[in-house]
Symmetry: C2
Amino acid sequence: METLKIIKIGGNIINDEPALNTFLGKFAALEGPKILVHGGGKLATSLAQQMNVKVNIKEGRRITDAATLDIITMTYAGKINKQIVASLQAHQCNAIGFSGADGNTIVATKRPVKDVDYGFVGDIQSVHTETLDILIQNKITPIFCAITHDNRGQLLNTNADTMGSALAIAFSKSYQVSLYYCFEKSGVLKSVDDENSLIKNMSPQTYKTLIDQGIITDGMIPKLDNCFYALTHNVHNVCIGLPEMVFDATIPHTLLHNS
Amino acid sequence: METLKIIKIGGNIINDEPALNTFLGKFAALEGPKILVHGGGKLATSLAQQMNVKVNIKEGRRITDAATLDIITMTYAGKINKQIVASLQAHQCNAIGFSGADGNTIVATKRPVKDVDYGFVGDIQSVHTETLDILIQNKITPIFCAITHDNRGQLLNTNADTMGSALAIAFSKSYQVSLYYCFEKSGVLKSVDDENSLIKNMSPQTYKTLIDQGIITDGMIPKLDNCFYALTHNVHNVCIGLPEMVFDATIPHTLLHNS
């Protein structure tokens, strides 16, 4: 099977213009089929402040009322996505921006209200790869912002990590998919401030042990659950680390594997 | 040759949610290859006011400084474009949102500074239909917002009428293109407030006479020049009128023709 790289970048790169430009130059030069998924960074929060829309984040998730959804749609699908696409075009990478509504690629349902009403937040129900596959086969690179739709006309705010994982699982039917999560650390660290404590390899067994020992906690658990879920659903491998790891495999990072 | 319909809608529909929904429902049901081009309406101006960015419009053109370009990108490519795409998906029309940067479809150059510095405003240089053609052949409908790029990383604000015309000319190589300009009147009127004064047919000769007689003036001249330019560049026909004319040819409108 042909290889497909799905790369998720987060706020640390989006918020740093020179770092983003460097990343996009290298991403453009990366050979073979590829998809980029980007988060939103600080821009949505600063626009909300300018517009006097209250920012309400609960357990790392943004409570998305109608005004917040507008802000997210404007910043993620508008400014950030189009600037990334224009930069990639300047680097001779033929990119097209996507939300999950475009090409009906990612359908989600509004999260049911339980203890918390997250508002217009979507949990992914299905991924449709046909249109993306046509583009990829024509050497066009899809660039996803973290917005989906419910196929009934409603846009929904969706976690970018989960979008990367859902795309990776869906494409594993026809490609050997490598999924990369880029963030500001070299990977999963035993001690959060010590880059020398990098865990280079992680199996489900190692993961369980590290949770039992209290070494992996809090915010990393949903992220890693997501990664192992992808691995048990035919994604070939999952890497977590600095953006540079995507372009140079010798750069230390965390490689998750199934056994 | 196969027929392709290119339909431009402006602020009067964009600003009127029920009218937009009705239009999109009918547009979704329209058979055969089609492309929608939309303007921005009042949303950019109201966002600019909320963000305390000065709105500066000269001879109907928006002076586009960096802050204004951000606002335009957020509203046109973000909120409006994605809401249109999500609505069309709900109506079973498989749409994908585009700016000229996406798929490198429309390349423009920043307008040179002469008497007026329009800022980040782009004049169209070239249209690349390959990617759009692949999508259209796969029954996917491109939805364009009025933003282009210079292929060097810069997004540019571009007139939606001109985008419609440039797309129509480029596609006339491989399709019989009908170009529709929808606005709030039945078409070109001899007397601006009298719908009964509709000019149903307009040849270049009629057009010249109406200008000489002072019947067509001001803002309509660049619009109509644009239309006749398209007709002399192989566009099959150009219609101006109410949105309903697209779906029902018996609804009175202005048909421009070459002879």
